[in-house]
């Protein structure tokens, strides 16, 4: 191998070895026991370095093995397709951002630090919370960190989690608390309304040792929890921490968690200008109230304002003594690489939309998801299992098995909702689903149902 675009010194090996004073590259590895040296090429990639043209061909082959859908997927579960403004991609594609690193040297990283500070600040406005960190991996891990954080604060071991919270998030929480002996107690939901069962909450909250109470707004079924403030009150009353999970987009319409004094807020920034990415990278949101006992135990990086030796305003990472590279085993989390670039994407997105745009977008999503639900339930024997109002996602009950519908949609290169049970499915409809594609979804389903019922 005598030249490669990514290895500039292949032709200078001898010269550099001479400067070092050794005779061969192998000599530099003399300290590795011979029996663990691999003296062969690894069986990876395509057996030889590919040219950029060939890499692109391989990429295109993978792309072609995926199915290009006729319409954006009608599936959500917390991650929904949205329109991504070109400005967002353009900004995070700037070399100075995307090839940079955690701003350990603030003087030469003011741009990144300011952008992250602005992310924190914009998200703070949306959530109505005073302190936001500069990102976690995703909603699931942010929730897990919140649960661990509550345990660090009050030492208690039980966390109440709604049955109607996102099950994918709950799976993550279960994994993360594995080492700490924290127990999850699920709170039932009302099968008619789809909202949390307040009686069951009352009952479960009488358990001793409640560290935190979690609630998701809107919940996994897309349904607004109209009694969310009551839930927060219960937590306060039980001296447990309240953790609220939110779809940040919905906050263009509904009350932010800060307004009802949630202690910790988690969520995912994916719905604010990020692609689906087959589920990752996503963008974990994490915020707390203006309370040192919370802030001190918060995971993740935080950017704050300071001044330089000339008194000029500047930005720097703050509260670093919570972090792993200083506090090691006493750190508030092991997180180091987070989703900083996507936090900037969120910041750009929120800046583009602004106050009014956020409301307009949330409204449009509300209307479109309600339109889809209305049209679906106009089909004979199709209904909505839950009564309460919803946003973006909604459950539908069918008179035939959902698998059949799902297969029919697949034939037509459509992706239907998430199967909840044999006859119900959870759909997601956003601003990228135009009337034509919603109507196509509905008519395809109608056709299938008619076909099965008449056969």
């Amino acid at each position: 191998m005598y030249k490669h675009p990514w290895l500039p010194n292949l032709d200078l090996i001898d010269e550099m070895l001479k400067e070092i004073g050794v005779n061969s590259l192998d000599e530099l590895f003399n300290d590795i026991p011979a029996e663990i040296k691999i003296n062969r090429l690894l069986n990876v990639a395509k057996g030889k370095p590919l040219s950029e043209y060939e890499i692109e061909k391989e990429i295109n082959e993978k792309v072609k093995k995926n199915v290009e859908l006729q319409a954006p997927p009608f599936i959500g579960a917390g991650i929904c397709p949205h329109y991504i403004p070109n400005v967002v991609k353009f900004i995070i594609g700037r070399s100075e951002f995307y090839t940079s690193y955690t701003p350990y040297q603030p003087e030469i990283s003011q741009g990144l630090l300011q952008a992250l500070f602005e992310y924190q600040s914009l998200m703070a406005e949306l959530l109505d919370m005073d302190v936001v960190n500069a990102s976690m991996y995703d909603w699931g891990s942010a929730l897990a960190e919140a649960v661990l954080m509550a345990n660090r604060i009050n030492g208690k071991k039980t966390v109440l989690v709604p049955e109607n919270a996102n099950p994918f998030h709950k799976e993550v929480v279960r994994t993360w608390i594995g080492g700490k002996g924290i127990k999850i107690e699920e709170v039932k939901y009302d099968k008619n309304s789809g909202e949390l069962d307040l009686e069951d909450l009352e009952k479960k909250s009488n358990i001793d040792d409640i560290s935190a109470i979690y609630i998701q707004q809107p919940n996994f079924f897309g349904i607004f929890e109209s009694n969310i403030e009551h839930v927060i009150d219960v937590a306060k009353h039980k001296r447990a921490l309240s953790i609220v999970g939110v779809n940040p987009l919905s906050l263009g319409l509904i009350k932010p968690p800060g307004s009802y004094e949630a202690d910790i807020v988690v969520g995912d920034g994916q719905e604010l200008g990020l692609p689906l990415n087959f589920g990752g990278p996503l963008m974990g949101v994490f915020a707390v109230r203006w309370d040192m006992s919370l802030v001190r135990q918060m995971p993740g990086r935080i950017v704050g304002i300071t001044k330089d030796t000339n008194g000029k305003m500047g930005f720097t990472l703050i509260l670093q003594t919570r972090e792993q590279f200083i506090k090691r085993e006493k750190a508030t989390s092991n997180i180091t690489t987070n989703e900083a670039l996507l936090a900037i994407a969120n910041a750009v997105y929120l800046s583009l939309l602004g106050k009014e745009g956020m409301r307009e977008l949330a409204e449009e999503i509300y209307f479109r998801s309600h339109y889809a639900a209305k049209k679906l339930t106009e089909i004979d024997n199709v209904s909505m299992p839950f009564r309460s109002d919803f946003f973006e996602e909604f459950a539908i009950r069918f008179p035939i098995e959902y698998d059949k519908i799902s297969n029919k949609l697949k034939e037509r290169k459509l992706q239907g909702g998430l199967k909840l049970s044999d006859y119900t499915s959870l759909f997601c409809v956003t601003e990228v689903h135009d009337k034509k594609s919603i109507d196509l979804l509905v008519s395809t389903i109608q056709e299938m149902i008619n076909g099965v019922e008449t056969s």
Binding site: N9, A45, G93, Q324, R328, I335, G354
Partner: protein, 502 residues
């Protein structure tokens, strides 16, 4: 230049919007009203700025110009492996970008095939049996690894194993991950050569030892040459030997953790496999295991069933899921493109050339006695740690001062004060992608700074002066009476309307 906060760009009060929302009038005419419960409605919209597209673009372009990345200059941050990220990688995101994680598997065979291939390639690269790519970053992989150790011991009724050993040169994530999984952490001291002290290790390993977390090469850039003996000691106590992959770059394609005796390995794809660091993320990770431990890997993994790729592989004792879906698949695609471009030959040359670069840089600096090395006769691998203790003692110039002076020379600074066992440490990782010319210039700059430090230390203490801002006040940044983590807090401060953070 200075750039105002995004909240303070529009000071005319004009109603602006950088993006029009597409509204469907037909749909609106069908759904006339919103039925959201009154008590939930937001009364005042969020206080987001109101800006035209150009204002947003210009603001963030200007911010970007006040930042530094690998595309701008060398970033010799030790243990961060800030290598060049080939531009072709961005094309690879077309594989994953628009696909929902819960789509029908038949819709995403291209993605699943890619994940499957990467699972195999990373197994081959690490010498492990299987890899799960479900972890969104290196430390998440590490956490998964420790949870695997925990569950493994529990399943073998070894709940008494409550202690995780960590080398004193280890990355901070190691003890943090161990603690998150509920382990006590015990540090293993290094010897005078910067390697694990074998006598100490033998002494402290006992029944309570759950595992040993080690990087190899370690954070001093030194290969733990007793690794096979270490493996024996750890395994003889029924403990697990864990490999922190952050430092893999220096031995990539030369020696594999699996062959060294490690049971579990995590990889940081944003280090070794060229995923751009993005200002601190997103990265991507892999967690790999050997033997019985493969049963504990996080799910789901991709398997091939009747010629189709499926997300159905769930290791039977799996610790669970670390991330909400399947890890940072969009970044896996970038590593996929990178590996295609390297090929097996390139993979091997990464290890060789990154090690060559480190030792070349050391050679260029060997005459500067103020840059001290532990075990100076040992070849380094991916990185090298110098101590500028002498500068500190004799001239009052710290590692931090040297770092700031490097910024003024147009370079990014090394990692400093790490590992903690080295006083006034400068931890430098040049990587294989920097040209000899750049290494020469960096060495020259460092040489000049050491000379300046001796001749005119006061001047150096004032650096940086070429950057957009001078040295920042960390006490002010963190004091409860001045701490300001968001704009809303800043506004309240200006109005005197906020309390101490307490």
């Amino acid at each position: 230049w200075d750039e105002p906060l995004i909240f303070e760009l529009n000071n005319s009060g004009a109603n602006r919007q950088g993006l029009l929302i597409n509204k469907d009038d037909e749909i609106r005419s069908e759904i006339k009203e919103m039925k959201i419960p009154k008590n939930l409605l937001r009364e005042n919209g969020p206080n987001l700025p109101s800006l035209s597209e150009l204002e947003v673009v210009r603001h963030f372009i200007r911010l970007s110009q006040m930042n530094f990345g690998v595309d701008v200059g060398i970033m010799p941050l030790g243990s961060c492996t800030m290598k060049y990220n080939p531009k072709i990688e961005e094309k690879a995101t077309a594989i994953t970008e628009s696909h929902h994680p819960l789509e029908d598997e038949d819709h995403v065979q291209g993605i699943l095939e890619m994940i499957y291939e990467l699972q195999n390639w990373f197994s081959e690269i690490t010498g492990m049996d299987e890899c799960s790519l479900q972890v969104p970053a290196g430390s998440a992989g590490e956490f998964a690894g420790v949870l695997m150790i925990k569950k493994y011991h529990e399943d073998h009724n070894r709940n008494y194993k409550d202690t995780m050993l960590v080398a004193d040169t280890a990355h901070g994530t190691n003890p943090a991950s161990a603690a998150m999984a509920g382990y006590k952490v015990m540090y293993v001291k290094s010897n005078g050569e910067g390697l694990v002290d074998m006598d100490i290790l033998r002494e402290i390993v006992n029944d309570k030892t759950a595992g040993f977390m080690l990087t190899n090469p370690n954070t001093l850039g030194l290969f733990e040459e007793n690794i096979l003996e270490i493996s024996k000691i750890i395994h003889s106590a029924n403990a697990i030997l864990y490999y922190d992959g952050a430092n893999l770059n220096g031995v990539l394609g030369i020696a594999r953790p699996g062959d060294m005796g490690f049971d579990i390995v995590h990889l940081n794809l944003h280090k070794t496999f060229a995923v751009p660091h993005g200002g601190g993320g997103p990265g991507a990770g892999a967690i790999c295991a050997k033997g019985e431990l493969v049963n504990y890997l996080p799910y789901p993994m991709v398997e091939k069933v009747n010629g189709k790729y499926r997300l159905s592989k769930i290791p039977k004792n799996s610790v669970g899921k670390i991330a909400t879906f399947y890890g940072n698949v969009g970044n896996l695609a970038r590593s996929f493109a990178y590996l295609l471009g390297l090929g097996p030959q390139g993979v091997q040359m990464v290890g060789k050339m990154s090690t060559l670069a480190t030792n070349y840089l050391i050679a260029k600096l060997r005459d500067i006695k103020e840059l001290e090395l532990i075990a100076p006769n040992r070849h380094r691998k991916h990185e090298v740690v110098f101590s500028v203790k002498q500068l500190m003692e004799n001239y009052g110039v710290s590692a931090n001062d040297v770092a700031k002076a490097l910024l003024d020379s147009g370079f990014y600074a090394p990692t400093i004060y790490f590992p903690p066992i080295i006083e006034e440490a400068l931890m430098i990782e040049p990587t294989e992608t920097e040209s000899k010319e750049t290494l020469d210039m960096f060495a020259e700059a460092l040489k000049k700074i050491v000379e300046d430090a001796k001749r005119n230390p006061e001047q150096l203490l004032k650096s940086p002066s070429n950057t957009s801002i001078a040295r920042l006040d960390q006490a002010y940044a963190n004091h409860p009476s001045t701490i300001t983590p968001t704009y809303r807090v800043l506004k309240l401060r200006r109005m005197g309307k906020i309390n101490y953070l307490k």
